[in-house]
């Protein structure tokens, strides 16, 4: 089985095919890490590029991420068996801030993080600050990610930054912010990491967790 074939299943957004290939790979005794890193992950990287280039749109991006998740789920047992490998990249608690019902960008970030091996807890939209903080505490989050699509709700990202800091959570999670009105300057001002889009969110999350 070629790495390119694994990648292609994700690029084409074919979850059935990705699952089938992942199972066949594991059953034949192949190294599951190799299947992810040289196969499926190459696929999801390409999907992200095609989206940024304007060749792919939301449906293709979501389907690619779903195929990636299907492959990861099928490989999970063998990934867990492979010695000395801790593949949990980190835990992310994510939601759209209070007063803001925009779901789509946040869900996209959640899906992409999950497709890249993060443990993701999606709290939905219109999430009160206390709920972000409590969930981060319960889950032992490494990253708290908050989306805001309105200039009027963006201010809640600052309140959340303050609340996360003053809660003194174990592991001191980092705050990540995104959404149309947010900028790198705004993120820096409130002490957060900025996610320009779903693809950059993955890179930023990977860079933020040692």
């Amino acid at each position: 089985m070629e790495h390119a074939e694994l990648a292609r299943s994700v690029i084409e957004g074919n979850a059935e095919e990705a699952r089938r290939l992942a199972r066949a790979w594991a059953e034949s005794g192949g190294d599951p890490l190799e299947a992810v890193e040289r196969g499926f992950a190459e696929g999801i990287r390409r999907v992200g590029e095609l989206w940024e280039e304007g060749e792919y749109f939301l449906p293709e991006l979501i389907q690619g991420a779903e195929a990636m998740k299907a492959a990861l789920a099928a490989l999970r047992p063998s990934l867990e068996r492979s010695r000395g490998v801790e593949r949990r990249k980190g835990c992310v608690v994510i939601g759209t801030v209070e007063g803001d019902l925009h779901d789509i960008g946040k869900s996209l970030v959640a899906t992409m993080l999950s497709a890249h091996g993060f443990e993701v807890h999606d709290l939905g939209s219109d999430v009160p600050i206390a709920r972000f903080v409590e969930e981060a505490r319960v889950r032992g989050a490494d990253i708290v990610a908050a989306s805001a699509l309105l200039t009027t709700t963006m201010v809640f990202q600052r309140d959340l930054a303050d609340a996360v800091r003053s809660a003194r959570l174990p592991g001191s999670p980092r705050l990540m912010v995104g959404g149309a009105p947010t900028t790198p300057e705004w993120a820096a001002e409130i002490g957060a990491i900025h996610a320009e889009n779903a693809l950059r969110a993955v890179a930023a999350a990977e860079a933020a967790i040692p």
């Binding site: 280039e53 304007g54 060749e55 792919y56 749109f57 939301l58 449906p59 293709e60 979501i62 389907q63 779903e66 209070e98 007063g99 803001d100 019902l101 779901d103 789509i104 219109d126 309105l150 200039t151 009027t152 709700t153 963006m154 201010v155 809640f156 149309a180 009105p181 900028t183 300057e185 705004w186």
Partner: protein
Amino acid sequence: MSGFLERLRLGPCLLLDGGFGSMLIARGLPARDPPDRWTVDRPEEVLAVHRAYVEAGSEAIHANTFGANAARLSRHGLADRIAEINRTAVRLARSAGASYVVADVGPTGEHLPPVGRGDPREWRRQFLEQGRILAESGIDAFHVETMTDVREALLALEALREAAPATPVLVSLAFERKKRGFFTIMGDPAAPSLVRLHEAGAAAVGANCGITSRDMRDLATEALASTGVPLVFQPNAGSPERTADGIRYAQDPEAFADDLAPLLLEPRVVGLGGCCGTDPRFIAALRARMSARQRGRPEPAPGRPA
């Protein structure tokens, strides 16, 4: 026979209104409240915004009904007041003194698989429900706006035409600029989508929100070159910027009107207005350009709605 359709057909370009939610926020609408709540809680504020647009020169104004469908209202615990909210919104718009009142019909906020879990049959039922209430309230036209999926726009259009067969329907999609042209986030390309909506019975089609007046002019140029349909455009006031006092849309009303002024010469551009961040100053600036260019159009131009 609708006077509105006749007005679109004969020209000149109809001046619409500008941003509404952003105007209510400037008047103190709290961040977590939908603009629809103020139709019933603060009707004097809604009316004041309508009047400001009429004074600035809007010939047709949109009733404050963008979010007044069952899906959106239910998220704010207002679903049981859907009839009251839509009727009151139309009555407020009507009392502002504009020549035409256009019912604003926004998206459900849900998405079809694989992006979301929206159910097209349920959407259709909701658009039909809102459309019937609006039609009974006495409107001149519907405007389906800010659609990011041409399938939802078509569903809304069909439902509204069923709800009120004699009432014209305008349909505007929200596009993004990509390397290969203008597309919705779902990947619907601009010109073919507009043609499809016109063929499905829209009196005029176009774009609102999402992009600036500069990009909108480019989109309009593309749509004029590659389609033969009547067009309507309502761009944003530039992109939001952060300032010490909060957020503002930085564009100057004169620059906005300059970007759109060339479209006033195009007989097929039947309607112009603004979206997020625009206020009565933007409409007044457009009105000034229109007055300067006003000229008689005795014969209906080819491509205008029949």
